[in-house]
């Protein structure tokens, strides 16, 4: 029980980080980035590659992988997503990002084969004791990393000028453009940030789970559930729903059976949406298409 709770909060914060990237992208651009799952896996494989071939530590490697993923995000946004326009934009964005995800999945399968891998370090399997519960170091360090990055992101969003322009674009794009914000530039950088966080999320995910390219399906279904539950485009929603959902999943797994724990995720989603179609923190009941 206690173990499930602690584990849920620690893992949940990593999901919250990845979901924040996703909700930021949706909020600013109305793009549903289905490729977020494969970007997480790509980030994990980047860390794996750096460690395997250059012996770079997982956490130190983030100094390389985070900027790399940021650039990948900007390139993807400029090449493909910036071209989407019109009333079917959001529906099209799902398909475009899905196609991108298929291409990356194919490349990863060829480059790294379909065998499962896991990121290992000297400290991955060591653990320490709190309240009589053994917690592996890597979970705790992942949690710290997620907290640091989330605080950084929130500081940027709420305490800087650029953050203000992002929040303005989140609230109302045309109004933001009217007061002189370069929405195009904000969109591009937001997409970059949204993808960059997957490098950190992917590293922690890869250190705590065995993965291959097709693990991305499982990831993206969870991340999408989290941001819908939190309210699409809501930053606080992604944070709360991310931690709450993973904790709930672990609790169900501990009390009932791990087999049905994923199910709890989707049952909660369906129940919440039946009463609050806009999600927990969603503000608009219906965004105009």
């Amino acid at each position: 029980m206690v173990h499930a709770l602690i584990d849920g909060v620690l893992t949940g914060s990593v999901y919250a980080l990845m979901a924040t990237g996703l909700t930021l992208i949706f909020g600013v651009m109305e793009i549903i980035n289905v490729a977020q799952g494969i970007f997480v896996i790509l980030g994990a494989y980047l860390s794996y590659y750096l460690q395997l071939h250059f012996g770079i530590d997982l956490f130190a490697g983030l100094l390389i992988t985070i900027p790399t993923m940021f650039v990948v995000g900007i390139v993807v946004q400029r090449l493909f997503l910036a071209r989407l326009k019109g009333p079917e934009k959001t529906a099209m964005s799902i398909l475009v990002t899905y196609a991108i995800s298929l291409v990356i999945e194919g490349i990863l399968n060829i480059a790294f084969t379909v065998n499962n891998v896991q990121l290992n370090t000297s400290y991955t399997n060591k653990s320490f004791q709190v309240f009589g519960v053994y917690i592996p170091y890597i979970y705790f360090m992942g949690f710290l990393l997620a907290i640091v990055l989330l605080s950084g992101l929130y500081y940027m969003l709420y305490r800087t000028r650029f953050g203000a322009s992002i929040r303005a674009s989140l609230a109302d794009q045309s109004a933001a453009a009217l007061v002189g914000i370069d929405v195009k530039k904000v969109s591009t950088i937001c997409f970059g940030i949204g993808i960059a966080v997957t490098a950190a999320g992917g590293m922690v995910f890869g250190a705590t789970n065995a993965f291959n390219a097709s693990t991305s399906y499982d990831l993206i279904s969870r991340l999408l559930t989290i941001i819908v539950l939190g309210g699409m485009g809501s930053l606080a929603g992604a944070l709360v729903a991310g931690i709450a959902m993973v904790t709930l999943e672990d609790l169900v797994g501990a009390i009932w059976s791990p087999v049905w724990s994923t199910m709890a995720f989707f049952v909660v989603l369906v129940v919440v949406l039946s009463f609050r179609p806009q999600g927990l923190f969603g503000q608009q009941s219906a965004r105009a298409a």
């Binding site: 949706f26 109305e30 549903i32 493909f80 071209r83 989407l84 019109g86 079917e88 959001t90 529906a91 099209m92 799902i94 398909l95 475009v96 899905y98 196609a99 991108i100 995800s101 298929l102 291409v103 999945e105 194919g106 490349i107 399968n109 060829i110 399906y217 279904s221 999408l224 559930t225 941001i227 819908v228 699409m232 087999v259 049905w260 994923t262 199910m263 995720f265 989707f266 049952v267 989603l269 369906v270 949406l273 039946s274 179609p277 806009q278 999600g279 219906a286 965004r287 298409a289």
Partner: protein, 340 residues
Amino acid sequence: MSTTSTSIFSRPANWIWALCGVLALTFPFYETDPAYQQIGVYTLIFVACATSWNMFSGYSGYVNLGAAVSYGTGAYTLSIIAVHTHPNNLPGSASEFWLIPLAGLAAMVVAVPIGLIALRVRRHTFVVITIAIFFTFQLIAINASFTGGTGGLSLPYIPWAASYFDVPFYYLALAMSIFAIILSALVRRSRFGLQLLAIRDDEDRAMGLGVEVGKVKLTGYVMSAFTIGMAGGLFALLQGQIYPQFVFDPLFDISIALMCFFGGFGTLVGPVLGAAVLESSQQYLTVQYSNGSLYLILFGGLFLFVILFMPQGIVVFIRQKAKQRSDQQIAAAAAAGSNA
């Protein structure tokens, strides 16, 4: 789309339909290799599913990424009944085929509560909920006891010679595709179809004009589940063995959507063309090279190309080009006339 033609064969499009129909009907006679006949069956299964999917999602704009829920429900309904009753013992061989419409009905029944929940929200959220519901179904199929779990279910053996094994399946799939196309065409020309299109264009305005949006969306959603469920049942019979990850397959969901967008989202011909091109090429590449990863790259790349350069799909792209050309010809003729 102009529909004012006086004779059926006065428009070139109808000639193309007729030609495709003849080619499809005679396919097992000129292609006798079972491997390629099977490609034909799979292609037609996807033609039926994509057309049926488009009848709801394409017309209403509500992109359903959980079509495999209907497909899997159909496949499992048929398999469970077949396993428990062994209808092969009944008079007449292969009487399981009579279970196919039942598979479709089961998919419709399951679609009602799903539709009631998922259609409460607007488009973007709807997409995500359909994905979530899909994964719930996959999870049930993997873990419940009545579905046989990960081991799947084996259907009673169909005693046909290998040389013509696929032919009855082929014609059933063809019949299903024709049914789906005719139904989709009828819906498109009906008042109900116009209501779906109105929802796609502007749901609030449609509601203001008196369209009962909730009822119309639910009806469309449930209707589209029927053919997809039947196709799932046919797939189960063809395979003789089903596994949760193959009938509740996320790639199925997305393939259907890709086929429709590739051919032309919300058009009648688009899904048929998209399914015919993409599914047959996928099956062909699998038979030839058996390299799934390469296929993913090609498929994804091709799709990116189409969506970025012909965002409304191939059918609409060709129509626009044709219209541009005829407009230019008219303009040129007018210019020549005024000069003379």
